[in-house]
């Protein structure tokens, strides 16, 4: 794939209905000539359209399993596993067992993303500590800007804030994503341990969501991703279950348990909403899931209506990453299973499995490139021009039927009015006006 983002249309399945245009939080979809068209600049990969499309015409472009293995042939193959993967299997298993099955699929090393999550949490605790230390010397205005911090681990939320909540950009945790931390760590450990050049290491991430694929194509806050390819959890699931279903499969079968890197349960719990907040060590946090609910909370933060809240953990998907669109299992069951994994005792694992405890965690790197606003939703760069467009939009809107039927291809009469003013649609595209039935 060479697109800049992952959510895409399967044209032959699209019937041109209005389900997806209505659900899109950034109004990024229009139906044109009977097919949905996604605006690449506005799409934040939230996957609402994938969930809502009754014809399954929306998809997330990720790398296929077979093409991935071909592409990385001859390199040291490293898999980074989202902990969501562990929760997908309908029976009791163990993290090390599932990871050893990944090795049997053709990988040389497997790292649990929880390592990066634990490092990310440590980074957040450091930021909170620093802010608290300087808090007393700040003016009232500066204090308001200090808290709440907003987690940046959900890339959909970060891109959404870039587009719709520019003032909140400085509140984002300015640390690279947990899976990126894990990938960088894997590269450094392996180039040291196996004496291979970093270029000879291929890192593949098993992801619960398409936004992580997008993040490797257009990174946030960093120049280049440490991850080469991204495979959806749903795709690797069927292959793993065939191995794990075998009678008496045990992790020792691969004889490579020393190639498995895990962390303690603090990072693991980040796969479910609230896990991150609990790991910050503070009590005055807020968690929110679902993009429409996130909008409400961002409005509240912008208006300074949440005094006393120091940390906000927003997740685009309901329930956190276990609710991701590339998962297989029901998220409620997955959440319950995650708790079981978090209770695993370390001595139940093969002695050769590498446990990265809190002292050995990698450093979480801060963003090296400042995040900027995405002004795709602005009417114009010139304020006078924007004002005149705003006025025209209102005048056109007053003449439209106000049914928000979507038949013109825009999600609402208001966005249709905007499309007309911006030259993207014609007044005649409104079926009701054209038929003169209103």
């Amino acid at each position: 794939m060479n697109k800049l983002h992952s959510v895409s249309l399967i044209e032959e399945l699209c019937v041109g209905c209005t389900n997806c245009i209505k659900g899109c939080p950034t109004e990024a979809i229009r139906v044109r000539n009977g097919k949905a068209v996604i605006d690449d600049v506005r799409c934040v990969d939230c996957s609402e359209c994938i969930r809502i499309c009754p014809y399954h015409a929306k998809t997330a472009l990720t790398d296929s399993f077979d093409s991935t293995l071909d592409a990385i042939e001859g390199k040291l193959k490293v898999a980074i596993v989202s902990p969501v993967l562990f929760t997908q299997f309908p029976y009791k298993s163990s993290r090390s067992k599932i990871m050893s099955a990944i090795i049997s699929l053709g990988f040389d090393y497997v790292f649990d993303e929880s390592i990066g999550s634990a490092a990310y949490l440590k980074g957040i605790r450091d930021i909170i500590r620093q802010k608290n230390q300087s808090f007393d010397s700040l003016s009232e205005e500066q204090r308001k800007l200090s808290f709440p911090l907003i987690s940046s681990s959900c890339p959909v939320i970060v891109r959404f804030i870039q587009m719709k909540y520019r003032t909140l950009i400085p509140r984002l945790v300015s640390i690279e994503s947990p899976f990126e931390i894990t990938a960088r760590y894997a590269r450094s450990v392996l180039s040291e341990q196996s004496k291979v050049n970093s270029k000879e290491v291929a890192v593949v991430y098993f992801s619960p969501c398409p936004a992580k694929k997008t993040l490797t194509l257009t990174p946030l806050g960093t120049e280049k991703s440490n991850v080469d390819l991204v495979i959806g959890i749903h795709e690797v699931y069927s292959r793993l279950i065939r191995i794990l279903d075998k009678k008496n499969y045990s992790e020792n079968e691969s004889n490579l348990s020393s190639h498995i890197f895990l962390s303690d349960d603090v990072g693991l719990r980040c796969a479910v909403l609230g896990g991150e907040a609990a790991g910050t060590g503070i009590d005055n946090f807020l968690t929110v899931d679902g993009i429409k609910n996130v909008v409400k909370i961002m409005d509240e933060i912008e208006a300074d209506h949440l005094p006393g809240i120091s940390f906000v953990e927003p997740s685009c998907c309901f329930g956190g990453c276990v609710g991701g669109p590339l998962t297989v299992s029901n998220r409620f069951a997955a959440t319950a299973r995650l708790r079981e994994f978090a209770g695993e005792t370390f001595n139940s694992w093969d002695a050769n499995v590498k446990l990265i405890d809190s002292e050995d965690l990698p450093m979480a790197e801060h963003w090296s490139i400042p995040l900027v606003e995405n002004n795709a939703m602005r009417l114009s760069d010139n304020i006078g021009d924007a004002m005149s467009k705003y006025d025209q939009i209102d005048k056109i809107l007053a003449t439209l039927p106000g049914l928000d039927c979507g038949a013109c291809g825009a999600p609402s009469c208001a966005s249709m009015a905007e499309d007309i003013v911006q030259g993207r649609a014609l007044f005649e595209d409104c079926i009701i006006m054209r038929n003169g039935t209103n």
């Binding site: 409005d299 939703m377 602005r378 009417l379 304020i383 006078g384 004002m387 705003y390």
Partner: protein
């Protein structure tokens, strides 16, 4: 008796672009919809591309004035005029008027009834909060007739 207060830090200036003018209705004692006018104004300014810091100040000030009209003013109207340089917001009510504007401008002073306080309003921060966020503020109030608040936020 007619009270007037003026706080002015602004400079006069104009542009040749027609201002955008919008009018909103504010309903008395309707706490469910209180704040809708200011949030609608806020969304317009963001779409036009006004600097978010200025949007925020205008939104906070208008929200407070709007809430005052809901609690004390028996409802009223809001008139918002946007130019490329500033936003001017007038909130006009036909309520009982403010008895002592000086007192009303004091932080913590409130005459809000319990019904409003139970909703989390009426902490006596309304007018002080408006003053903090605007570049120009005029309050005219006549007992028994009503109150007219005019505030300006400059975009530079």
């Amino acid at each position: 008796m007619r009270h007037t207060i003026q706080i002015r830090h602004s400079r006069e200036g104009g542009s040749n672009i027609e201002p955008l003018i919008r009018e909103y209705e504010i309903k008395a004692n309707d706490f469910t919809h209180a704040g809708e006018a200011s949030s609608s104004m806020k969304r317009s300014l963001i779409r036009i591309g006004v600097n978010p810091e200025h949007v925020k100040r205008a939104a906070i000030a208008m929200y407070e004035a709007e809430i005052n009209a809901v609690i004390h003013g028996g409802g009223g109207i809001a008139i918002v005029a946007v130019s490329p340089e500033s936003v001017t917001i007038e909130i006009i009510d036909k309520g009982p008027g403010i008895e002592d504007i000086g007192k009303a401008m004091t932080e913590g002073f409130s005459t809000a009834p319990d019904t409003a306080r139970e909703m989390g309003f009426g902490a006596g921060m309304g007018l002080p909060n408006i003053r903090k966020n605007v570049d120009d503020l005029q309050i005219e109030s006549e007992l028994g007739k009503g109150t007219r608040i005019k505030l300006v936020v400059l975009f530079s």
